[in-house]
Subunit: 348 residues, 3 copies
């Protein structure tokens, strides 16, 4: 896609200085930009690059004082960073503005497809599934029986959603993520084998949730595994059966949440964290990457680290002391020698 | 699907009390059930809900003493929990009773397909593959050259099984799991680069195995990576080349088993555990979540924790002491002061 | 596939001893080989098996002294191990020598497909994509808009490559791996919700890279996430936005590299390691499995372990001391008693 400086200025409602007809076809950082690139300057730390950049168009704050010649066409706006973000979004939505139903896809006659939906080739929409308006189902996705997906959602290529799951509006699910696979439930038998416990619940994902690639969210044994509004999950995360993730909680990559755990609202959980089953985490809890949480956290807005986790302060202190352990051991040995000597002296 | 109380009673061979024509179309916990739901009461802790539940039908033990009026239709059976489990299974197998070959799927003319098989649209069955009777291959699965799959197995959507792998009977493989990708073997070269070591073995999965979603089991360099009968693997697990997982072993999510490790029979391994290559774990070993196992375990039926792992008792003790480290350090400092003082006094 | 001893001998330019017409159709270890198998003897530790093996053909070193009768046909070569490796590779490339475009695949009219390319059924090639000569795209892969893939690369079944990513020559990507999903970037809002930061960069993968199954490499926010020449990544790895992995670096399964981290050349990183964002690792760094790296490593060729990581020597020492902590604690208590006693004696 190619745009002129004039078109971009019109979009941002700014003031143009320079050649209005110069064309750009990519976005780049001001320090790396080549001819044909659109860039922006928001942080004055980078001001020097304005005079050396090869970008064809640069968006700047209208109050910027420019005291040397600039090669690029400038677009002056109130807030260069916000304006650039707006462009990013427009660019992305233009780029990914797919519509229509591609051949060959599989749409069961009993599925209901909304308006302006995209269904990529080799996607599979099962009986009873409902796909809301403006939602995009990329190629090779699997949408199981009776799945409901809201409006304006994007299900990227290869994502699999098992039967009966419910996905809200404006939800993004990245490639090859699996929603609604069976919870890991098996009953031990006297002969050492296990019998599968049927998993007949589902997964409910509320509005404005984003889920990364290759992540797994298991269906509930009964009831629902619940991902609440505004949750952001990274790649390769495990959410076990009947877990609940509170509103606006953010979880980084490769973390695992065990069965029936209830994560509170606005938690921030680092990568590679493990949380055992059936615990509850209070609102605003923060968990350091790689930690292991083995009990509930009741006080709100606290930070934890370590495996098993301690309060963040204790964790940091213990970490420092662990590094001093060789010193500590030496100190004890010296003390022992001293004390032995004292004793000898005394017993003389 | 909708059933009457009478139909369910007939299926369970119970005794019906109440309206035999009431209809149910979902399963629910007794404390959450709404009209139209079928529920059960097995644990007397929940007895009070029997008198308040909105469930239309409740399965109860025949020896239950009912001393207040009950709105729901009751089905009395010997063991309410078992009866409910039987219903769950029937419900699930009815729900997922897919059969036939959907268009468009790819079935190589040299593949052999058994009786009553389901092959979903966009599934790919390669030359020489054999699919046993009653097995279900969901949409978008890939079954490589000469793969053998037994009877009554279910391969969920998007699972990929590389050439020459062998899958037993009654095996469940969840969505987007990969079986038989190349083992991670590279020979270092003098110039710092690596040359790939061809991985020409396969993966063998025995009967009654269940494997979660997005899990990876690599093929052997030569010979077989072996998953024995009755093993249950959760989501996002890594099993490296030439590993062996013993009969009826259970492994939780995000655990990694390195190359040529031999896990014994009836092990229970928690989530996010790492096990190094070439070790052997005795029968009945239990590993705490997040542990790291870096040597063989020879004694049977022991429990381990930590990274590197210790016996469970030592691990728990060390954890407690680590939390006391700041105290310990303070104690040593005080001792030192005392000893210094003693010394001073003595040298006077 | 079936070959005679004579054909194999011709290929290896060796000397044949025994029946030249015996046929083999599989490769096996000498101690496990059955009739019809081709095997090799390189390590004299296994010499005894030469006289008992059921292999039909065995490749041996030409200087091997054979002092008992051998049933198998022998092929004598300079270096049996190298010759066998050559055969492995030939066998594998013959086995996987797929070509042509299968029905039904989706190839956008604006995609460019090179010579001798394989495109499996249900693969999806988007507008503007370029697929180089001899490259194989297995069934159910997704190749996004304007993706470039070089020559002689293999993209296994179900791998998904988002728009604008660039893949080099001789790159292997295993099944269900995701390249170019959105980086995990969200701007917190005053009301506790998050707004997505558009991720408009891409992923660049240079030549001779191998990437395992179910691995995720996120696209850059701007610019590129970069995987340099010769890198080998195992299964289930997370590479976050704007990270860089140096030439010939090897990373084991389930490791996570956070955003903007720069991993140096020729690093060796174990499994389940976590590396925080924005750090730099020097050339030749080695990281023990399960470690957590929370700061940059500047000195080259050093080994680290633990979470948070220390030098390998300190880590090993601390681990030993941690196991001695109960002893240490006891020692301190005894010292305290001794000192108290001394003090008492003195104050008498």
């Amino acid at each position: 896609m190619q745009f002129t400086a004039k078109e971009i200025n019109f979009l941002l409602n700014g003031t143009l200085k320079g050649n209005p007809d110069v064309k750009v076809n990519q976005l780049a950082k001001i320090e790396e930009a080549q001819e044909g690139a659109l860039s922006f300057l928001a942080n004055l730390k980078y001001e020097a690059f304005l005079y050396t950049t090869n970008a064809s168009v640069v968006i700047v704050n209208e109050d910027l004082v420019i005291d040397k010649p600039v090669k690029a066409t400038l677009i002056k706006v109130k807030d260069a960073y916000s304006s650039f973000s707006i462009l990013l979004e427009k660019y992305n939505s233009l780029k990914q503005d797919k519509k229509g139903i591609e051949q060959y896809s599989f749409i069961h006659p009993k599925a209901k497809i909304g308006k302006d939906v995209y269904i990529g080739a080799f996607a599979y929409i099962s009986a009873g599934a409902i796909i809301g308006d403006n939602t995009k189902i990329y190629p090779q996705c699997f949408i199981g029986d009776d799945v409901k997906i809201g409006t304006d959602s994007v299900i990227q290529s290869g994502a699999k959603i098992y039967h009966d799951c419910v996905i809200g509006n404006k939800v993004n699910i990245h490639a090859n993520t699996v929603i609604g696979s069976d919870g890991f439930g098996f009953a031990p038998q006297p002969d050492g084998s296990y019998v599968k416990v049927s998993q007949i619940g589902n997964v409910i994902i509320e509005d404005n949730v984003e889920i990364g690639a290759n992540t797994c969210i298991d269906r509930a044994t009964m009831g629902s595994t619940l991902i609440k509004e505004g949750v952001k999950l990274d790649n390769l995360i495990q959410i076990a059966h009947n877990a609940e993730i509170g509103k606006n909680t953010v979880i980084a990559s490769q973390t695992g949440i065990s069965g029936s755990a209830k994560i509170g609202e606005s938690n921030i959980i680092g990568g590679q964290v493990g949380i055992v089953g059936h615990v509850t985490l209070a609102k605003g809890t923060q968990i350091q990457a790689k930690s292991g949480i083995n009990k509930s956290i009741e006080e709100e807005n606290k930070k934890f680290g370590g495996a098993p986790a301690q309060t963040y302060q204790n964790y940091m202190r213990s970490q420092v002391i662990i590094q001093r352990l060789p010193d500590m051991e030496r100190k004890i040995d010296e003390l022992q020698k001293l004390v032995n000597k004292l004793q000898e002296n005394l017993s003389k």
